[in-house]
Assembly symmetry: C2
Homo-oligomer: 205 residues x 2
């Protein structure tokens, strides 16, 4: 999240095909490395970003998705707070955080892959405490709600959200402190609880 | 499920490497077909089973997982009731439903892939109404519990299970009828409700 927008890390292609077009970072697997390792290597080579937990999203294997030859792409997803400004490298002409809502066309079938990734991210907020990782160590329910609103791309009713998140086992722990940093009345400060999955899930909307 | 056991559809390899060893059905993607289409084609060629919804499980891409050459495998999962007895074909010497608990070694890294698939199946029973598809059109809570016990591989407390499943929105609809086919007292008959995801989920155990 940058400037209150859900962003994807994209590169501007420096070579054909789709030269000059935005694309997801990526490249070819070397014969002696695993597919997982190739994903991490290409990410750091093209953007300078490293050390993330990459999870497999899906594999894209339609016959004519790359005009050069038959290419099957294994897509990975990483979701993390406080990521650095990227540094373009190897065959990327530029690398940048781009608000997902402003992405129009991408090279190859990358728009579909990005769309699948965004949907996975949105679902993870329903079922896991991931959203709390995008808040500070201590945060208000309004701050957590803002994370959900940005990722889900919708406005949420404050009272309804408060009732839901405080009803999830182990999601939030009260610190006993309050803050007025939101600019309104004193609001309770929470920290992450021990939950690793949300029961009940925070159904969208 | 066959004879009260969770089973996987395996083939006995007719060719090297791992000749004679049990393996997951599969094969190489043709240059003009999608990876998804290849999975469905190989399944019918090697086992005679067709018409299933195959979902991607994961992609396995370690460098030396196939002794012949570099092979990346995209694994698919299908879960369905009432599947036919398989018919071995092409390079499979035999095809059979094998209880997952009796599977020991498999060719290549297929034991790990099967283990990942079983875990995905177990998780789907927590979050989706999939289990009801393995019951008849009208079923008792005890019959549904048996499905969960078989897939999860554990015994479940009948009262606890009854309380949980009847507390899930839209999972079950009472038919108003009862049956004594379980051999005990008359038990209420249910049919599938409209739920597509379970709220709350049926946490294992």
């Amino acid at each position: 999240m940058r400037s209150d927008a859900l962003c994807a890390l994209l590169v501007r292609r420096g070579e054909a095909p789709f030269r000059g077009r935005w694309a997801l970072p990526g490249g070819f697997v070397r014969v002696s490395e695993s597919v997982d390792a190739a994903a991490a290597r290409e990410l750091v080579e093209e953007t300078g970003v490293f050390g993330l937990h990459l999870e497999q999203l899906a594999t894209y294997g339609e016959p004519r998705r790359d005009p050069r030859m038959r290419v099957v792409s294994v897509a990975y997803l990483a979701l993390a707070p406080d990521l650095p400004v990227p540094v373009a490298g190897t065959d990327a002409a530029a690398a940048s955080w781009v608000p997902v809502s402003e992405v129009s066309t991408l090279a190859f079938d990358h728009a579909r892959i990005l769309s699948d990734g965004v949907e996975r991210a949105r679902a993870k907020l329903e079922y896991t405490p991931l959203g709390t990782e995008f808040c500070g160590a201590e945060f208000t329910v309004a701050e957590l709600r803002r994370v959900y609103e940005i990722v889900w791309g919708i406005s949420l009713d404050p009272r309804n959200f408060h009732r839901k998140v405080t009803g999830v086992d182990g999601l939030l722990e009260a610190t006993g402190e309050t803050t007025t940093r939101d600019g309104g009345r004193p609001a309770a400060l929470f920290r992450r609880g021990p939950a690793t999955a949300l029961h009940p899930p925070l159904v969208r909307g």
